[in-house]
Symmetry: C2
Subunit: 331 residues, 2 copies
């Protein structure tokens, strides 16, 4: 059976009151050195350490942050999670990773996060409509929320993301300079607004170059396989002469799947017959097997910002940072 020593027990062993024990474990509390030593010694002997659960109940601070994730197929999530957990831990915050799926939806997760008194909720690459919240109002009951690596659909919920407008401008500028004139854009279908927003913006950039009409490819999910299927469907339907000459994909994992099909199944050369561009700059896209031209999100800045907002060192507001274009051989 699990049985932890309590402050009371330590107090008895040390011959002081339990409040003195508490003080010994409270940085900056006024306590005599002699008492502190006695307490620490007794605590050591009893293997005592404060019960953070009880502390949280009393202080209303859990030092836990929920991170909602609904897409585990993009390898890019992993390094971001690594950095995020590290920074949060450096601030004394632990990360509760919550898998949003069919059986456990946003509302469910949010109610849970509320009941557990998490200090904050991060929507990492996921979002929901304002209506989803129903009657529950932000600011009362619900923990502060933030959207990471995506735009926010919910008024009052700040989004910390890469500046996609700047990114797409830079990408299109680059592609135009390279001489590409028949662009296509592949989205992962799942979400409406974000993906469609990006696609629309991509199209706008081309329009400013005098090029109207961006071919639209739609993958079923965000995975290499889905990217492959979408590329296959497109190439099967389009005769060689009428095809796009550059395909921008919403993220790298789609791009790699598409590239597989382009090269292996249709024998096309990348970038000569069809150029491919991704987004995220995942490690495997950078190797010689793909040499994928991509765009790197300013992950570090984004995480610094969101952690600062959670700790209160920084004002909570929507903000977008510029990333950097990664030029390789695929486009």
């Amino acid at each position: 059976m699990r049985k932890r020593a309590t402050a009371k027990e330590v107090a008895e062993a040390a011959g002081v009151s339990k409040w003195t024990v508490i003080r010994a474990f409270t940085p900056g509390a006024s306590i005599a050195d002699a008492s502190r030593q006695k307490v620490l010694q007794a605590a050591e002997a009893l293997n005592y350490s404060p019960n953070l659960l009880a502390r949280s109940l009393a202080t209303n601070i859990t030092h836990q942050v929920a991170v909602f994730v609904d897409d585990f197929t993009n390898p890019h999530k992993l390094p971001v999670l690594e950095m995020l957990t590290e920074r949060l831990q450096a601030e004394g915050l632990l990360t509760v990773l919550i898998n949003i799926n069919r059986h456990f939806d946003h509302v469910h997760a949010l109610i849970n996060a509320d009941q557990r008194q998490f200090d904050a909720v991060i929507l990492f690459g996921t979002a929901f409509r304002e209506e989803t919240l129903g009657d529950r109002r932000l600011g009362r009951g619900l923990p502060p929320m933030f959207v990471l690596a995506r735009d926010s659909q919910i008024p009052g919920v700040p989004a910390i993301a890469c500046d996609t407008e700047v990114a797409l401008n830079e990408i299109v500028e680059y592609l135009f300079d390279k001489g590409y004139r028949r662009p296509g854009f592949m989205t992962g279908a799942r979400t409406l607004s974000t993906a469609l927003g990006r696609r629309r913006h991509f199209a706008n950039c081309w329009r400013q170059k005098g090029i109207d009409g961006v071919m639209e490819l739609t993958a079923e999910r965000y995975s290499a396989q889905a990217g492959a299927e979408a590329a296959r469907a497109y190439l099967s339907d389009s005769p060689p002469g009428s095809r796009i000459d550059v395909l921008m994909c919403e993220n790298d994992i789609l791009a790699l799947g598409a590239m597989d099909v382009v090269r292996s199944e249709f024998g096309l050369r990348v970038p000569h017959d069809l150029a491919v561009v991704g987004f995220d700059n995942i490690e495997l896209g950078g190797g010689p097997a793909y040499g994928l031209t991509s765009y790197e999100q300013p992950t570090e800045k984004m995480i610094d910002a969101i952690v600062g907002m959670i700790t209160g060192e920084r004002a909570s507001e929507t903000i977008a940072f510029p990333g950097s274009m990664i030029r390789r051989l695929s486009a």
Copy 2:
């Protein structure tokens, strides 16, 4: 300010005692239907839901499981995390993802997990020596621990993993049948026992085939880049005639990095000049760009087992499940 309604407030609003409110939210409690309705109505109005923090303090059950991870470079971690969180959530358990690194080591994390009263700790792909525990004894104070996807170094801590003995036998059998005779094995250096154990077992299998001596390559970490460096170092030092003819890597990500170097920098054909085998069967290894022969861990069984042990539906004991060989073109 966050302010949640309490059972007491609901009680006043509903004109009952707070214990009746609690009963209304306790499945299977004896309460009159009329009272329950009154309570639920009042709760609805006040937006009340039970405070799980207080409940945990009183019951000594947090419904939270800590998952320790110290390597975020292997993309294979992501789908496993997805399945693990989903299964845990299905059992009403949330996952606290803890990043073990220089600034936050196992001991630190374990003390924290203890203080927060987590129901269990999963060491996912990571482990430490028994000595690390110091004086703290298992079974008293510390939450129950499990090692996932790796062997356990700690007596009393069960490991749930893929049966590497069976796996390596099958792999070597396959390679031998294919005609390979000069094997090499690449480990990620970091950990001693597990990696070295695998390498030793790999060597044993070959010895049974009458082949002594397995070339040993050592990567600095588990990443494509580290795998590439290790392969580069080896190939640079070994003249063509004396080289191994098959390279088994401890995981896919090392294998992909190695394959990049083998093909692009040294112009060798895979598998003709040098065959490559990985472990984990990550999505990107399966595409035409690599066609990596690999070995798939029985993730689902492993997770079912560990979740069963945590919930107590299953006896806690070390167990290894056989996986399945994935034959592709790289070997």
